[in-house]
Symmetry: C2
Subunit: 447 residues, 2 copies
């Protein structure tokens, strides 16, 4: 099977975007990809330079003048392979065992990228695609796509499309297909509380001055009530209510609370009353302290009042919360409830993300649902990402196009961990599913 | 001046109790002291072994059969000298400059110990002391007197006395003499909050589980109100009210709040309403978080819900709070308000201290006051230690005797810091003051 040996060659290139020593490898992967796309019949293949690693572009136009443009998104860079000693075989010497290929990047996302090329190759051989296919394979996904925005601004026309289909991502489980219809946004601030100039003796000063740690705890405690509701004034103002159809759809997702609880290792699940766990994870904003520090952290007792204390607060946002506005609201809250006798400062971290949701009536959703049902033999469940998906937001903001996922990976494939693997039958799924999707999209576009 | 060269010899012995490499030096200092006491006319001088460094005992009995027994307390060990590079001359090569001797341990407490010996020598030459003088000079004060309690239990009769006079300590300022009439107690606990088994992604889990840092902040915040009052149930139950005479006496202490505020470097002083700063420092209990930690403390943002968070809480106690009881009260409070969805544990640290106050009507106080007035030309102010004074409590509990201070050091002498010094005229003050005190004590005992 020639297509397998090609895949193994692709996997053997250590295109680790985070490590400068692999810069030439990342470029080699881009070249390999470009050549393979050309061989598959993709036209106008170009390696687009960025301030970082390159983007591989290409397109195959449909013969129909009114066909929609579909941009296939994926990435050819990989996570670093460490810890090496936990791998059963070297991460860039792919090993096939039964139906699996073990290699760093196999599932994330070289399998998806390569599957899309195979699907395109089939379609070209069969007379050309029913949609205008465009390809954007980036080399910086694993480092946060720092240069993608600039490229999209610069090459807006080149990437113009009606829909973005990501081959990065995966299904809810290997058996249960899913439609991922949104992700949460992100905003993070640091709170710094300063008290005495230096740490001071708690006997000599305790009772006369405020303690920055106690003061910080009061600020943090003032942000949520004991049920997990966020009590910051205005925080929920622009939160879009969960619709009845979302509720119904989330409720259909097979989710065992007790199994989840045990897997995380907490004594009980916890969160905003009035919502199911999945509703809270997918459609409700959060406020979490991701780190706190101040004073003496060693063994035993050091009898001081610390000079300062700090914490980081991260909020996950949902439509229609704007990160900048939420940052202002958080800062105003901290200012308003800043304890006396200490100095309180806040800093907003750069790198906000806006929340993202594909509208429930987006025409691609029923199409995707039909194709997945045919491919998996059961209807997909609608899911969301509790985390952020900055690129989806970027495509929407810069190209005006929504992103949907068509990626057949399963969640057990050790993505970002040692012994990452990809199931070879997922290449077949993409080869069967993507052409089906393109046909259905073309058909639904005509109607 | 022979007595100066003797003093310099004493200071040149590096009796650093904390460092095992100085073990022989500590013993040498004890021997030196014992010989010098014998030369001064002290009888039955003995070097008492302990599990650690020895205690030097001695006594000179009065000719009067009804004379009270006064135990002179001091210590011959010193703090380590580091940082050495900040000393202007080697710490154990004493240098006299004008009226000062620079050396580690000069003010804390070899000056006091040596001054007491000089005073005794004078009194013995003049016909013997009017009281039964006993001496307890320990070698472990700087490491927390870990073996003193055992020795006092064992040698209870040897150290039996009516009053302990400490030559360790100091006056409020060089110009303003003071009576230190008490110190606060201490109890400390650690609070550990556990959430998910490991740090987890705040996108993947935010909203579904409780956050140990937020939960810990709620616990800490629940312990004090925004005015600084402690809100732990039962915490103030046994607190002895400040008496009118204490209030009056504290109010006479020259204390400039603005000067104090600026020296500590806080934007405003802070604490329990209804009390002056000195009342809060000396006669009100405190609750301070001396350290807190959990989650990510590095630069930037790490989007996690931490697995755990911890903090240390230290309380300063006043009569009649019992440390063990307060520990129980704190633990009960934490249990009661432990947030859901996390596991909360508390640990009480060993090394509690009970608060200590000399009763306002103790007959030694007016005597001390008269002697100090004569010595300094002005009435002493009554002060307290906001910190703890475990040995005072130990003497009271084991010998039934209160401890008062007669130490002429000033607070500017760099005690525990580089370039510690002692003013030579303080030796004279002790030589004049202590015999005066002993006479007055003998006289007041007779009446």
């Amino acid at each position: 099977m020639d297509y397998i040996s090609d895949f193994l060659e692709f996997l053997s290139i250590p295109s680790v975007s985070a490590l400068s020593k692999h810069k030439a490898d990342v470029e080699r992967a881009a070249s390999w990809l470009a050549r393979r796309m050309e061989r598959a019949g993709v036209r106008e293949v170009r390696i687009l330079k960025t301030a970082g690693h390159p983007v591989v572009f290409g397109q195959v136009l449909s013969r129909s003048p009114h066909a929609p443009a579909v941009l296939i998104y994926g990435h050819y860079d990989t996570q670093p392979p460490d810890p090496l000693e936990e791998w059963n075989s070297p991460p860039f010497e792919p090993v096939v065992k039964e139906d699996r290929v073990y290699a760093r990047g196999a599932a994330d996302d070289k399998g998806g990228v390569y599957g899309a090329i195979l699907a395109t190759e089939d379609v070209v051989k069969a007379g050309g695609p029913p949609v205008n296919l465009k390809f954007l394979f980036e080399g910086e996904e694993e480092i946060g796509s720092p240069n993608l925005k600039d490229l999209l601004v610069k090459e807006k026309d080149l990437f113009a499309c009606d829909l973005v289909v990501s081959v990065d991502g995966g299904m809810f489980t290997r058996e249960i297909p899913s439609l991922t219809t949104g992700s949460r946004g992100l905003v993070a601030i640091q709170i710094d509380v300063k008290g005495p100039r230096t740490d001071v003796h708690s006997g000599g000063h305790g009772g006369a001055i405020n303690n920055p740690v106690n003061a910080l705890c009061q600020i943090v405690a003032s942000m949520k009530d004991e049920d997990g509701r966020i009590t910051v004034d205005g925080f929920y103002d622009n939160v879009r209510d969960i619709s009845e159809s979302e509720r119904k759809s989330f409720a259909q997702v097979p989710f065992d609370e007790e199994e989840y609880r045990a897997s995380v290792g907490v004594p009980a699940l916890f969160g905003e009353p009035g919502y199911t766990v999945l509703e809270r994870l997918w459609s409700r904003p959060t406020l979490d302290c991701s780190g706190i520090w101040g004073g003496f952290q060693g063994e035993g007792v050091k009898t001081i009042i610390p000079s300062k204390a700090s914490c980081k607060i991260t909020c996950r946002l949902v439509p229609d919360q704007e990160p900048d506005e939420i940052a202002r609201i958080l800062e105003a809250h901290v200012r308003r409830c800043a304890p006396r006798g200490v100095t309180v400062e806040t800093t907003v971290f750069p790198g906000n993300s806006r929340p993202y949701v594909v509208p429930g009536d987006h025409p691609a959703l029923p199409v995707l649902s039909r194709v997945l049902t045919k491919l998996y033999g059961r209807q997909p469940v609608e899911v969301r990402l509790g985390g952020t998906l900055p690129i989806a937001r970027t495509f929407l903001d810069l190209l005006g196009s929504y992103l949907v996922f068509f990626a057949t990976s399963s969640p057990d494939e050790n993505v970002h961990s040692p012994n990452e693997f990809y199931r070879l039958d997922e290449l077949d799924k993409l080869r069967r599913g993507l052409p089906e999707l393109w046909s259905e999209l073309a058909a639904s576009h005509r109607t």
